[in-house]
């Protein structure tokens, strides 16, 4: 409530006064505010909070062949943390995150800055065409790249052979992770570029003029004015990328069909959880894996944010 305790304490005893700070008009507004929130939070509770709690509950049990469900404490978690299949998968998406995300966001930032500088002919067309892959579902993108990667009839192999470079194998166990990084990069550079570009467009022009008067060139301008100004947008794309990479599913599950030797059923933790739950029927263990994955994502996101805030403070201290 918005009334301060000091105010109510000092009031002498007497006939109950109407609560002053909440006038009838304010109370109507407050009620309206809650009513506006209600539909969202009903769905929020039932589709996010309840399933999450239920997953936590499930992960604490194990199903016995005889006697049904039995409380298992943290046994599923202990099993997950010593399960090489899960840990390898986690390491794989971690590697994916460390390599693919800087490339993807770096490219997106480069395109956003280049387009914002308005120095290229046909900027509008460039922007739209780079953005276009975002309209393609991950399923279609993976199917398509699967054909493009094909060693016999894929156009990349055809061109490579034509210029005498031999046949590259994009689908071997060693190269499949890189091939997958390429698919995800292709899909999401444009999406991230648009978020950054939109932020760049909202930088007030005065900042540029001041920098220009100081004699800053395009690169200096980008580094010292534009990039610091769009830091919140960069954080947003980074957090979305954490969530995206750790949850990889469609790409491994579809590539599995054309490269079964390279993609194991635990290639990524998400794909592993799916296989555990729906193929092996190990629901409780799958819930523990999913929960652990969620915790890892939360921790990585937290550190990413912390890093962002720290560098912002450093920047502030310097200026």
């Amino acid at each position: 409530m918005s009334h301060s305790p000091a105010l109510t304490a000092e009031r002498p005893a007497g006939p109950p006064l109407p609560k002053r700070p909440t006038s009838p008009a304010k109370r109507t507004q407050r009620r309206a505010a809650y009513l506006f929130l209600l539909p969202f939070f009903v769905v929020f509770l039932s589709m996010l909070v309840v399933p999450l709690v239920y997953a936590g509950y499930l992960s604490l049990f194990e199903s016995k062949l005889i006697g049904g469900e039995a409380f298992a404490g943290l046994a599923n978690y202990a099993r997950a943390l010593t399960d090489p299949a899960f840990l390898e998968g986690l390491g794989r998406v971690g590697l994916f995150f460390i390599i693919q995300v800087p490339i993807m966001l770096g490219l997106a930032l480069f395109f956003a800055l280049a387009l914002d500088s308005a120095r290229a002919h046909g900027s509008k067309g460039i922007r739209l065409l780079i953005y276009m892959p975002y309209a393609v579902p991950a399923v279609v993108a993976t199917l398509m790249w699967g054909y493009l990667y094909g060693p016999d009839f894929g156009p990349i192999a055809q061109i490579s052979r034509a210029v005498g470079l031999g046949t590259p194998d994009f689908l071997s166990p060693e190269s499949i992770l890189g091939s997958m990084m390429n698919i995800v990069t292709w899909e999401f550079v444009g999406y991230n570029m648009i978020i950054m570009y939109a932020a760049l467009r909202s930088i007030p022009g005065e900042l540029y003029e001041a920098a220009e008067i100081d004699g800053a060139g395009q690169f200096r301008l980008a580094w010292s004015v534009k990039i610091p100004a769009i830091r919140p947008a960069l954080m947003l794309t980074l957090i979305f990328s954490v969530i995206g990479s750790f949850q990889l599913f469609a790409e491994p599950s579809l590539l599995n069909a054309i490269a079964p030797d390279a993609i194991t059923n635990s290639f990524t933790p998400n794909y592993y959880a799916y296989n555990l739950a729906f193929i092996n029927q190990e629901l409780n263990f799958a819930a523990a894996i999913a929960f652990l994955l969620g915790i890892v994502i939360a921790i990585v996101s937290y550190f990413v944010q912390l890093g962002g805030e720290r560098s912002e403070r450093r920047e502030r201290a310097l200026s």
């Binding site: 407050r30 309206a32 199917l143 055809q158 610091p228 919140p232």
Partner: protein, 311 residues
């Protein structure tokens, strides 16, 4: 579009907060010096994004043997697009059309619902003061980070107990929650709806709901379109949720349907011709969104401009 530029927009510590040009400000013109080098470089990069789609189009005009015997990046063999389309729309009693329709229904119902819920919530966060506001908003923001996997499995189990799996509801209801949409709408509403206008409407005796419908919604145009399109693309492209929830192939969206066709094609099963069907199907399935992008992209950007800036 009237808008106020918030403090987060100005670089830290330069004390220029008082200057508040709108997003529609005349843009600082960098002297119209175009760079040939940059132009060539960017257009070369564009090839990387476009050539796979070009391959998809070219390949959908080939029959199955030409698909594997001609150069992938150019037309070859007979022009079989019409034959492929005919096969696509008649295979398994025309189920592909059914998948397209399902995708439309799921995506539009989810996007409309999610946008409405997110707009009401975002408006409330932006324009009202009430106890618990901070906690509720933090919960919403934190939810952006909850991975789909942690939710999909228990949601599936809960839905199956409620008898909702293998129904359209199983795909639509979970897609109604859009925490990012709430965040965007809050930022957008804070900028786009002047408090004075709401006060004026109150003085005129309008109720809170009337103000929302008649004043608020009208000023939220680009923000609404952005949230709608984001939810639409998310549901349209979703694979994991419908894969888990649906068993009957007559309920599949295109993503799950195509994946099923593809696995039938790779498994052989005596139907090699399926490859060109899968490729043509992929090509047809991306057309609606690509066309929507061409027409609506300007809205995305103006709607996102506010959200990306205040993160």
């Amino acid at each position: 579009m009237t808008s106020r530029v918030g403090p987060a927009l100005v670089t830290p510590g330069d004390g220029d907060e008082a200057v508040a040009p709108g997003r529609s400000r005349p843009r600082y013109a960098p002297g119209k010096r175009r760079s040939i080098l940059l132009t060539v470089l960017l257009w070369l990069c564009v090839l990387y994004f476009v050539l796979p789609l070009w391959w998809l189009f070219v390949s959908s005009t080939k029959n199955n043997s030409a698909l594997f015997s001609t150069f992938g990046m150019w037309f070859g063999g007979d022009f079989s697009l019409w034959d492929n389309l005919q096969t696509l729309f008649t295979v398994r009693d025309g189920i592909f059309l059914r998948w397209m329709l399902n995708t439309f229904v799921y995506a539009f119902a989810s996007a409309a619902g999610a946008t409405l819920l997110a707009t009401m919530a975002g408006y409330s966060f932006a324009k009202y003061d009430f106890p618990g506001k901070k906690v509720l908003f933090s919960a919403t923001l934190g939810a952006v980070m909850i991975p789909l996997t942690a939710l999909a499995l228990p949601t599936y189990l809960l839905f199956s107990q409620a008898g909702l799996t293998d129904t359209p509801w199983a795909v639509i209801i979970p897609s109604l929650v859009s925490p990012f949409g709430v965040y965007l709408m809050r930022v957008y509403a804070a900028d786009a709806i002047p408090d004075g206008l709401i006060e004026a409407a109150r003085v005129d005796g309008a109720g809170e709901f009337r103000i929302f419908w008649q004043v608020g919604l009208r000023l939220l145009g680009p923000g609404l379109v952005t949230v709608f399109l984001f939810s639409l693309v998310a549901t349209w492209n979703n694979y994991f949720l419908p894969l888990i929830m649906l068993n009957s192939s007559s309920l599949y969206p295109i993503t799950v349907g195509l994946a099923q066709l593809q696995s039938a094609a790779s498994a052989g099963g005596g139907s090699q011709a399926l490859f060109s069907t899968v490729i043509t199907g992929s090509f047809v399935s991306i057309l609606p969104l690509v066309i929507a992008f061409l027409f609506l992209q300007r809205y995305w950007q103006s709607g996102l401009a506010s959200g990306g800036v205040k993160g």
